[in-house]
């Protein structure tokens, strides 16, 4: 039982973002308490449903029966059922409108906003958003690599190996380019096989073992290998390994094609 309690608590802290989210959650709990005194209708619409959701979520038996079986790793998503921001905004609005004078009311609004801002974390930052390179909002390198492969298709699709930073982007642009392994290399959703794991391990190194990559590549029909030359130390000429350099994207990504 203790394990389940601990599990629920972990999901909760995961959801709120640890200490960073504590202040807004304190604000929410305070607002929820205020709802008790804001009339029968508000108790019915906001207070009791929220309390029930909280009881559901923090119930270790529910977590054991449902959370661990069907919502493993995503149990925190149940907290979306709580109208957290609506309750805070509602209470703040009601409190602000208790003030009759407009000037004082404006001051209260500014103060309330300042409280939220100081205790919260800004969402639009350079860390979350950056200037886009194209309308697809994908790295331009991924698009150019795909375009090159598409122009030189020898089958209905080509299997390629790309540097780890492009694993999530390639197939968002074109389905003609298939990946030898993708995000699942990091153990996400599906497991990868031995060959894929071996190539991924090498591609994660600055000095990859080209013998391993090219041997598996040829055996598994990976027509293209793409290396990030600002990270990977690979020779210009890879004909000895059965691949030839055919194209360079953005002066960084070198595309090698299997010599048939």
């Amino acid at each position: 039982m203790i394990t389940y309690c601990y599990g629920v608590w972990n999901e909760f802290t995961n959801f709120i973002g640890g200490r960073a989210g504590l202040a807004h959650w304190a604000l929410y709990l305070l607002a929820l308490l205020c709802c008790i005194f804001l009339g029968k209708e508000i108790r019915k619409k906001l207070f009791f449903p929220s309390v029930l959701v909280l009881l559901f979520f923090f119930n270790p038996l529910f977590y054991a029966a449902v959370g661990t079986r069907f919502l493993s790793g995503i149990y925190w998503r149940l907290l979306w059922m709580l109208p957290v921001s609506f309750i805070i905004a509602y209470c703040l609005t009601q409190m602000t409108f208790k003030i009759k004078k407009n000037v004082l009311r404006a001051a209260a609004v500014i103060l309330a906003c300042a409280c939220i801002i100081v205790t919260g974390e800004r969402i639009f930052t350079a860390e979350t958003y950056r200037e886009k390179e194209n309308e697809y909002e994908l790295p331009q390198a991924a698009i150019e690599i795909c375009d090159y492969v598409k122009e030189n298709l020898m089958d209905w699709k080509e299997t390629i190996v790309v540097p780890n930073e492009l694993l999530c982007d390639i197939r968002q642009y074109s389905s003609a380019v298939s990946l030898f392994y993708g995000r699942n290399a990091g153990g996400f959703i599906t497991n990868i096989e031995e060959d894929e794991a071996a190539v991924y391990a090498e591609m994660s190194k600055e000095e990859p073992d080209l013998e391993v990559i090219t041997e598996i590549g040829k055996r598994r029909n990976c027509r293209y290998l793409v290396f990030n030359t600002s990270f990977h130390q690979v020779p210009e000429d890879m004909t000895a390994y059965g691949y030839e350099k055919v194209y360079v994207v953005e002066d960084i990504y070198a595309i090698y094609r299997m010599i048939v």
Partner: protein
């Protein structure tokens, strides 16, 4: 962003849902121009999602092509649109013949006319302007000093809220945010559009799959990716561009449409038809600030809304669950219009389309709110109707488990 694409998107994500949703505004007798528009927009969008769910799941299971599903969906929407057009013609025939309309106008007093025209929170600014024209209307706002006037207060709040909402809708469309989950969803959309298939291949390796295998098994009962693929097919915009550049702008505004309705519902008095506009605006202002500074983790509602609204689970968290809150606020009234209960069925079905978490959370919400409502009103028939709205979710959940 090209003008042509913006027009396509406006038709697909604003005009069409608003038209489809008219049926609900008519059934529920929503009053007020803006109230009618917002209800039509959000309820129409939920209806479109729900219809898509009914069409897509069996067609994915039957291994049909994307264009076939698209045609069926389009036929359903066309028939519904024509039915709405016919209903509107019948309901408002007096507007065309003029007989009943003139009779009505004679019978209503000036004050009643004013209320009819400007009821609802959205048009308060116009309402205030017209207020002075109504005999006996309160004129204190005009006599107050500039800084004390209600009109100025509404004006400032209105501008602030408009700026904040447009900022929230514009930044995700203008700048780039990458999310690793797109590697699955957008890949599925690209494959569907390019190959005219639905969940036939692995989103990473493109190996052929059947719908109940691998990663796509999770998406079979929640085919949001296919919904976006259909939109991509209609508009001709590539799925990645559609999801990253165009969808955020429209979906974020749509979500705030729901939040407006929630604020209006919570803040109105027991006898009022709509809350005062300044209160709803302030509610939206606080909500915007909470979202703009709510990035305490990548899991919060703010993160879902402003970082990856194009994904099904984010639409579920930011649009569908708040819509369910709103519907339940309506259903939990003592005298309920059964149209609101019917909408629960539509919304719960739409929740299934968006994400697996929609299949889980919608029934739990319906159950909990149903319990609260029962304890308040002891109306077993209504509670049962609310709980039964979870049946579609239960069916999809079972299908997912044993499929």
């Amino acid at each position: 962003m090209s003008c042509k694409n913006i027009i396509f998107m406006t038709v697909l994500f604003v005009i069409l849902p608003a038209w489809i949703g008219i049926i609900w505004s008519e059934v529920l007798k929503i009053e007020g121009r803006w109230q009618r528009f917002l209800h039509s927009w959000v309820l129409g969008f939920a209806t479109m999602l729900s219809i898509a769910q009914v069409v897509l799941v069996p067609m994915v299971a039957l291994h049909r092509a994307l264009t076939e599903a698209l045609r069926v969906w389009q036929i359903c929407l066309t028939v519904l649109s024509l039915v709405i057009f016919y209903l509107l013609l019948v309901r408002h025939q007096s507007l065309f013949t003029g007989v009943d309309g003139i009779k009505d106008l004679k019978e209503t007093t000036a004050a009643e006319k004013h209320r009819k025209l400007f009821s609802g929170a959205g048009m308060l600014a116009e309402g205030i302007k017209a207020e002075s024209a109504v005999p006996g209307a309160e004129k204190s706002g005009v006599l107050k000093s500039v800084f004390g006037s209600d009109r100025l207060w509404i004006g400032i709040l209105g501008v602030l809220v408009a700026v904040l909402l447009l900022l929230q809708a514009y930044i995700p469309a203008r700048y780039e945010h990458s999310d690793d989950d797109d590697a699955r969803f957008i890949s599925e959309e690209v494959s569907a559009v390019e190959h005219d298939t639905m969940y036939w291949d692995d989103p990473i390796t493109a190996d052929q799959l059947y719908w109940n295998e691998g990663e796509v098994r999770k998406d079979f009962t929640s085919p949001w990716a296919m919904y976006i693929a259909m939109c991509s097919k209609i508009t001709g915009i590539a799925p990645a561009a559609l999801s990253h550049t165009y969808l955020p702008f429209f979906l974020i505004l749509l979500c705030y449409g729901v939040y407006f309705l929630i604020g209006n519902e919570l803040l109105k008095g027991a006898q009022e038809k709509a809350a005062p506009l300044e209160k709803v605006l302030l509610f939206l202002l606080f909500l915007s600030v909470l979202h703009l500074w709510g990035y305490t983790s990548t899991h919060t509602l703010a993160s879902m809304l402003l970082l990856r609204i194009w994904q099904g689970k984010a639409v579920c968290a930011s649009f569908l669950l708040p819509l369910l809150f709103y519907l339940m606020y309506q259903v939990m009234q003592r005298q309920v219009k059964w149209g609101w209960v019917a909408l629960l069925y539509v919304a719960s079905n739409a929740a299934c389309l968006l994400s697996g978490i929609g299949i889980v959370t919608a029934p739990v919400l319906l159950f909990l709110y149903g319990v609260v409502d029962f304890f308040y009103h002891r109306n077993a028939k209504k509670t049962l109707a609310v709980w039964l709205a979870a049946v579609p979710c239960g069916v999809y959940f079972l299908y997912y488990l044993i499929g």
